[in-house]
């Protein structure tokens, strides 16, 4: 018998659905959308404008635009003629000033703006503010260089005005090349596929996720859960709290503490010097130690997750089974192997799939400690996507390429989740019971 969907229930859940849609689905969808664009901080996010600049004019011969058109586009002059004076009056330039311009400068042409400006500065009724003077110059300009046209139509009209009779294909070429905004493209994926560092980063990510997951999240988590189960209650609680501390500490503080521990004159370096071992910056000094630190930093945080989940699951095991095994003479290890571990199958599945996805997307600890270094030897995919999209000292922020990298991560995460659920036979867990009750 299927249960009816309660209307009231839907109403109650709608705020949560709204939040889910806005903060969960919308970003994921937008990431997918942006990954097919070349959006960056040079193109801007909210569309672009059409602007013809001297650099663009140098580029146009290679794109098949003829020399006379390019020359016409590059014309720069100011002329004080009837049309200009009328435009100045219409635009609201001070009446007395326009009259004086007409009286003193009518019919003149100026090749550069500084010449025109010095001519205007000689007039007695000029406005005081430089900006007003510059605004007064605008109606007289004959140039479309460095003018930002907000729409394609305006740009087209302007180009046709200075270069009448221009060929249609050349006009379209110019319009395409002069657009500063982002365009739809699949180049991002091509760039990722053909980049030399992609393989290195994939290997780094796989190594990082596999090692941290197995060693710390699973093995250490299980170890902690089992040992705190067998310890006296109070002592177990103390150790549980201690192992929760990395997760509770603010991540920046935690990273700084690790830096103090491993840096050039930090605790490890001094200890190593005392013991006669190599004393150097353990965090960034060599690739193996950098990896050890990165895995340890993330692992100590992650172990607590497994510890809590597994602890809860172990306590759900009926005590009678353990008592019965003790009566039969089982050792602790036999209890763990034959009673506890088999009943932790679903928690292990949960921790594995949840933490795989969590590790795939984690980059904060790596960023704050080794920053992907030395070189890019500890850079993982999520860190690289973050740095590409949002943190680029020398280049512009490349939102499109970063989104493409994130999309790849989302796809891989989804695939892995499905694989895990199949592997651990999730459908069995949620199957309806075979008996009616």
């Amino acid at each position: 018998m299927r249960s009816r969907t309660s209307r009231l229930g839907l109403l109650m859940i709608s705020p949560a659905l709204l939040l889910l849609a806005v903060f969960f689905f919308a970003p994921a969808v937008l990431t997918g959308v942006f990954s097919f664009t070349n959006m960056s901080s040079s193109t801007g996010i909210t569309g672009g404008a059409w602007v013809i600049t001297p650099n663009l004019l140098k580029l146009l011969p290679d794109r098949g635009v003829d020399a006379s058109t390019i020359e016409a586009l590059g014309v720069e002059s100011y002329s004080v003629d009837e049309a200009g004076l009328a435009a100045a009056r219409a635009a609201g330039v001070d009446e007395a000033f326009v009259d004086e311009i007409e009286a003193r400068l009518a019919g003149r042409n100026y090749a550069t703006d500084s010449d025109f400006l010095s001519a205007l500065k000689d007039l007695g009724s000029r406005p005081r503010r430089i900006r007003d003077l510059k605004l007064a110059m605008e109606p007289f300009t004959r140039s479309i260089l460095n003018v930002r046209f907000p729409g394609k139509a305006e740009a087209r009209t302007a180009i046709e005005a200075v270069a009448p009779g221009i060929d249609e294909t050349q006009l379209n070429t110019i319009l395409a090349e002069s657009y500063t905004g982002w365009v739809w493209t699949t180049d991002n994926f091509r760039t990722i596929a053909s980049s030399a560092k992609t393989w290195r980063i994939i290997l780094n990510t796989v190594f990082y996720v596999a090692t941290t997951l197995t060693l710390f999240h699973l093995l250490l988590g299980l170890f902690l859960a089992v040992t705190t189960f067998y310890l006296p209650k109070k002592l177990g609680a103390v150790f549980t709290v201690i192992w929760l501390l990395p997760r509770l500490t603010p991540v920046v503080l935690y990273a700084i503490m690790w830096k103090w521990f491993t840096w050039d004159d930090g605790f490890l370096a001094i200890l190593a010097a005392e013991l006669g071992l190599p004393s150097f910056n353990y965090m960034k000094g060599s690739v193996p130690t950098a990896w050890t630190i990165v895995i340890a930093v993330n692992g100590f945080i992650g172990a607590s997750f497994g510890m809590i989940i597994f602890s809860g699951a172990i306590r759900a095991i009926p005590m009678q089974q353990l008592w019965a095994s003790e009566v039969d003479g089982a050792s602790r290890w036999q209890q763990v192997r034959y009673i506890i571990l088999p009943q932790l199958r679903w928690p292990i599945l949960f921790v594995t799939s949840y933490q795989t996805l969590s590790l795939l997307t984690s980059y904060a600890e790596i960023w704050l400690t080794t920053n992907g270094g030395p070189g890019n030897t500890t850079t993982v995919w999520a860190l690289d996507a973050f740095q590409t999209a949002l943190l680029n000292y020398s280049g512009s922020l490349q939102y499109g390429l970063g989104a493409a990298m994130a999309l790849v991560l989302v796809a891989i995460g989804l695939m892995l989740a499905i694989v895990y659920l199949r592997l651990f036979r999730f459908d069995e867990l949620v199957a309806r019971p075979k008996i009616e009750f």
Partner: protein, 455 residues
């Protein structure tokens, strides 16, 4: 026939309206200014705007206008978060009215439309902008328009610890002659490596601490590219140049430095504070930095006698093909597209006032940057600073700047990634150069000229 943009028309209308409103009520303005890469020593970058606002209010009062300007300032100590903050704020229209950033940001930001060209708001033939250095104005221009006003100048320098040089056999006269030798190309980067190796062998500096370059990415690394004959821009057509031979030689230089044991392979990514502490106390033999580090080392790191302990030169040439050089990375005052045209006009006037020689000298001397204009050399505060005058005379004439281009960032990122990869030994020099070339070509196509080796 002219095209008058809608914004300009609105601005003119606004001007008319504000003209009628003038004198009727107090005008209140709030101008915000953010500066990147600025610590406490560089706070005059934003304080100069506060001083300018006070001046403007006084001048307005004399003219009979009642103007009240509130200046909101923010200093960012790093660059990454600052550039991120600016670009994202600009998208939402909340960028500060005045931005103080590196000139290399003009290209991408102008293209994205988040800047107003300062040329449309100020008169470069009037005081104080008419005495600014021409090359700085060129550095603040991009693609035919002047976008910003130079805020400061500096030069990136090579430093040696005098006492260590003396200890390995240099006489005082030889040390004093070193800058000229570097300039003439007689003392090269490899000579420097040999010298610091001797220092290490003599126990004057610890192992792998002889040569301490910059621990993170920066314009400085382009100097080494130029030291091996690389040009960043083709002077004929203004296109970006990717010189594979120069890049390869530059990467090889750092690999050789690691092989000689004067710098560790995992050096990049180190800590800046410990770097400053080490170079300012003689723990390094040779290093490179900037003219503004003088203020840091003398005030914060306890280097009392700079000239007695340190000697400075241009970055030496690397081989026959290259030249001694120095890169200058001026910061510029930029106007964002936030706010009304009146806000922008006022911001432009404040920036103009802040470029007065006496006001700019406050920043120049406090943070040991260099003058932006000829008259600033005559300001007493500047003239009595030995470092400021020496650096201006000996270094500034030989500097060049990074190109202003929306695409240069791609080349820069590729260059640095290749440098990291070859320096740490993760890939060979030729592989690193190939990978960098591939990245540049796939992103920029024919916008960049690839120069093969052997030229």
């Amino acid at each position: 026939m002219t095209i008058l943009k809608k914004t300009t028309m609105l601005a003119l209308a606004g001007m008319l309206l504000s003209g009628t409103a003038l004198g009727a009520a107090a005008e209140d303005y709030t101008i915000s200014v953010w500066a990147g890469g600025s610590g406490e020593e560089s706070d005059y970058r934003v304080k100069a705007i506060e001083i300018a606002a006070e001046f403007y209010e006084r001048e307005a009062a004399i003219r009979g206008e009642d103007v009240d300007i509130t200046v909101e300032t923010q200093l960012f100590s790093g660059w990454d978060d600052f550039k991120q903050a600016i670009t994202l704020a600009a998208e939402s229209g909340t960028a500060p009215n005045i931005i103080v950033s590196g000139h290399e940001d003009i290209g991408p930001w102008a293209q994205a439309g988040i800047l107003r060209p300062v040329e449309d708001y100020v008169d470069f033939d009037a005081w104080p902008l008419n005495q600014l250095y021409d090359n700085l104005i060129k550095v603040s221009s991009y693609d035919g328009k002047i976008w910003g006003i130079p805020q400061d100048a500096e030069s990136r320098v090579f430093f040696f610890w005098r006492h260590h040089l003396e200890a390995i056999g240099y006489s005082a006269e030889q040390i004093d002659a070193l800058p000229q030798q570097v300039l003439d190309g007689e003392y090269t980067l490899y000579d420097m490596l040999d010298d610091v190796q001797k220092m290490q062998e003599a126990g004057l500096v610890d192992d792998a601490k002889g040569f301490m370059p910059r621990p993170s990415n920066g314009p400085d690394y382009w100097q080494f590219y130029q030291s091996f004959g690389g040009e960043m821009v083709d002077p004929l057509n203004g296109k970006l140049v990717f010189d594979k031979q120069a890049l390869s030689d530059m990467y090889q230089f750092f690999v050789d430095a690691v092989d000689k044991g004067v710098v560790p392979a995992t050096y990049l990514g180190g800590d800046w504070d410990s770097w400053h502490g080490a170079v300012a106390s003689g723990k390094a033999g040779a290093w490179h930095g900037g003219t503004w580090h003088y203020a840091q080392w003398t005030k914060k790191n306890g280097l009392d006698d700079f000239f007695g302990n340190v000697t400075y030169t241009l970055i030496p040439a690397g081989n026959e093909r290259g030249r001694a050089n120095s890169i200058t990375h001026p910061l510029v005052y930029l106007l964002s597209n936030t706010g009304t045209d009146d806000d922008a006009a006022l911001s432009a006037e404040l920036v103009t006032i802040a470029s007065e020689p006496r006001i700019n000298a406050l920043h120049a001397v406090k943070s040991s940057h260099l003058a932006i204009g000829k008259e600033e050399l005559n300001v007493p505060l500047y003239a009595e600073s030995r470092w400021a005058t020496e650096a201006t005379e000996n270094l500034l004439p030989y500097t060049n700047a990074l190109p202003n281009s929306a695409d240069f960032g791609t080349v820069w990122t590729a260059m640095y990634k290749g440098l990291e990869a070859s320096w740490t030994g993760v890939s060979s020099v030729s592989d690193a150069v190939e990978a960098a070339e591939q990245e540049v070509v796939s992103a920029l196509g024919d916008k960049v000229i690839i120069k093969e080796g052997g030229m």
